[in-house]
């Protein structure tokens, strides 16, 4: 075990996979220096600012026997490539009857907190969850990042690696040896019996902080990190809620048609889980607004440990 940052874990995963498989190459507008140094400009391509073209080229190279990684950097920049993502990457395998595979990894940082205003502070993963044919995950720790990223690179479908901007420099233990984490498996970040909190990325850590506070008050909080958004580990979420009878979902994105709405549906549409609910499902999300610049406004828009705490207290009061 060593300590790595979230970002270092991602770079290490890419580097290890690139050493293993010469078919992998990487495209982004600004190459990552250590990758460029090790693999050179043939495999680490510095591209023009032309995300639509890069995304499409990634799809084409994937269908021609390569395993491209297209790094959009911020999710914001992939919106200029929406046709290639939604009409092409997501559908090409299905529409052509599965003739060839399109193993492509897209990387995109998400989230706010940087005072960089509406265009650069987005968490739009539920938009992509809504598109059939894309897998995606959003890890909360360096360990999960590395394991999921390696799995995603080896996957034969398009996968989006959403990565939390807030967590880039956060540290955690990562094993020395090779390991992977399967897509579609949630992780229980803290066991508990009174209430389940389902959270993603940075809010996993906020939820753990809230759980710690409540533990002092004798309340036992279970924190579930789905890690993968598609496919979602509904079983893990349901069995936790069946145990605790209460569910709070924390998400840095807004609530409308969001990840949080999907989790709420997964829980409430299941008769066995619904029967065990002792309180309505509670969501603690960002306000449904573009993210503002001024710190006062931005802080107000995002959920945090205090809002999670307040939400849990409300659930317990019922």
């Amino acid at each position: 075990m060593r300590e790595l940052t979230y970002n270092e874990a991602a770079v290490e995963a890419v580097a290890e996979e690139m050493r293993r498989d010469p078919k992998i190459f990487y495209m982004s507008t600004d190459p990552i220096p250590p990758l460029l140094k090790e693999f050179g400009p043939q495999r680490i391509k510095a591209t023009p600012i032309a995300e639509a073209a890069l995304t499409g080229m990634g799809i084409g190279a994937a269908g021609s026997g390569f395993r491209p990684i297209v790094d959009w950097r911020q999710v914001t920049f992939c919106f200029v490539a929406m046709d290639q993502i939604v009409n092409q990457a997501a559908k090409i395998h299905y529409m052509f009857g599965g003739q060839v595979t399109f193993p492509i990894l897209f990387r995109a940082s998400v989230g706010g907190g940087g005072r960089i205003a509406a265009q650069h502070s987005q968490s739009p993963y539920s938009m992509f969850m809504n598109v059939a044919g894309l897998k995606m995950y959003l890890p909360s720790t360096p360990y999960d990042m590395k394991g999921l990223l390696k799995t995603a690179i080896r996957d034969n479908s398009p996968v989006i690696s959403f990565e939390s901007g807030r967590l880039m420099t956060s540290k955690g233990q990562v094993p020395d040896e090779d390991y992977t984490i399967p897509l579609g498996k949630a992780d229980v970040k803290r066991e508990g019996s009174d209430v389940t909190v389902v959270a993603l990325a940075w809010l996993v850590h906020e939820a753990l902080a809230a759980a710690e506070t409540l533990a002092d008050e004798g309340v036992s909080v279970e924190v579930i990190d789905p890690r993968t958004l598609v496919p979602l580990d509904a079983d893990a979420i349901r069995s936790s809620v069946q145990k605790t009878g209460r569910l709070l979902i924390a998400d840095e994105a807004g609530p409308t048609a969001g990840f949080s709405a999907e989790v709420a549906a997964v829980v409430t549409e299941d008769a066995a889980t619904f029967a065990r609910l002792n309180a309505p499902v509670r969501r603690v999300c960002a306000l449904q607004v573009p993210i503002p610049y001024s710190p006062v406004l931005e802080n107000h828009v995002f959920p945090d440990r205090n809002r999670i705490l307040a939400g849990i207290r409300e659930l317990l009061a019922r």
Binding site: P48, G114, A117, A118, P292, P295, H300
Partner: protein, 326 residues
């Protein structure tokens, strides 16, 4: 430097210098205040490129419209934006142009035809082409100007809009500020041709390369393009060869991989010093006049900072305002 003294009134020439100097001093202050934690997020400085914005905007009328990029302070000031409201926006205050919602990357002043800085590379090109379409439909001779970088010239909207504007003869100026880099990536690594302006040929419109540090050269090219646009001749692509003195953003410790000798070579071609020197040689300015200009700008900046500091932060609940039109 280009000599325009016969046909540009001395007042206008001095005004160009004053604007360029204002941009520079504004950004020096913004950078200091950013590092001091009074301005948040990210700040992209335009220092070194002032002649491009001022040269072009000096050829425009109040009613003409422009759009900017992530590096937008210079375009705002050149088009006549209020330093107080700009500074208040950078400070995240209620009195800022965008009520504290936008910050450095998103300053707009629609009253003066400044349609906004934009955080998306090439994100403004189509929008301002729409303003050009509106100007054409209004039929009052208005023009619209798209400012964008060398990096943006590789993005789809640049090509799509040049084609439409050329075909429809829209009253447009496409002004590429070629500062030779897109973040850390040299333009030479991402452009098949060394001149962005030569792409104009593919759309059948004039493409002009100008020394982007020579404000009169920029003005002259812009003036000709504006005349052409106003008279129904259609768009022009103007490429200003210039250079940013600072790193891509003001973030502390941000690497700047450019060759120091290259940076210094360009700094010796300071567009402001070159203009000041020419005005002095022409007898339109002396060192006392230049000092008076500096003092006046320093004063205006102090007033802008004081205004920003005196403006309250927004109230938290204002975060939910303006999502939709009322």
């Amino acid at each position: 430097m280009t000599n325009l003294s016969p046909n540009l009134p001395p007042d206008k020439q001095r005004e160009m210098l004053r604007k360029m100097l204002t941009i520079r001093r504004f950004e020096e202050r913004a950078s200091d205040d950013y590092l001091a934690g009074k301005i948040y997020g990210v700040v992209h400085c335009y220092i070194g490129e002032e002649a491009a914005a001022v040269g072009v905007c000096s050829a425009l009328d109040h009613g003409d419209r422009i759009i900017s990029t992530h590096r937008g302070h210079g375009h705002c000031i050149a088009k006549g934006a209020d330093l107080k409201r700009m500074m208040a926006e950078l400070y995240g205050r209620q009195a800022g142009y965008c009520k504290g919602k936008g910050g450095s990357m998103h300053i707009a002043d629609f009253d003066i035809g400044m349609l906004g800085a934009n955080g998306i590379v090439a994100g403004g090109i189509a929008i301002v082409t729409g303003a050009g379409l509106a100007a054409q439909m209004e039929g009052k001779g208005g023009v619209a100007v798209s400012f964008f970088g060398d990096g943006a010239s590789n993005a789809g909207p640049f090509h799509e809009c040049l084609n439409i504007a050329a075909t429809w003869k829209l009253p447009m100026l496409y002004v590429c500020e070629n500062n030779m880099y897109a973040a850390q990536t040299p333009a030479a690594a991402t452009h098949a041709l060394s001149d962005v302006a030569s792409r104009a040929a593919g759309y059948g419109i004039p493409g002009v390369v100008v020394d982007g540090n020579d404000v009169f050269a920029v003005y002259q090219a812009a003036h000709a393009a504006v005349e052409r646009a106003r008279s129904g001749g259609g768009p022009t692509l103007i490429e200003c060869k210039t250079y940013r003195w600072r790193a891509h953003t003001e973030r502390r410790g941000q690497p700047d991989l450019r060759d120091r000798a290259e940076v210094e070579t360009w700094m010796r071609r300071d567009p402001i010093a070159m203009l000041a020197q020419q005005l002095c040689e022409q007898g339109e300015l002396d060192s006392a006049g230049l000092q008076a200009m500096e003092d006046e700008i320093a004063h205006a900046l102090e007033a802008a900072v004081a205004f920003a500091e005196a403006s309250p932060f927004p109230l938290p609940d204002q975060a939910v305002e303006d999502v939709f039109a009322s």
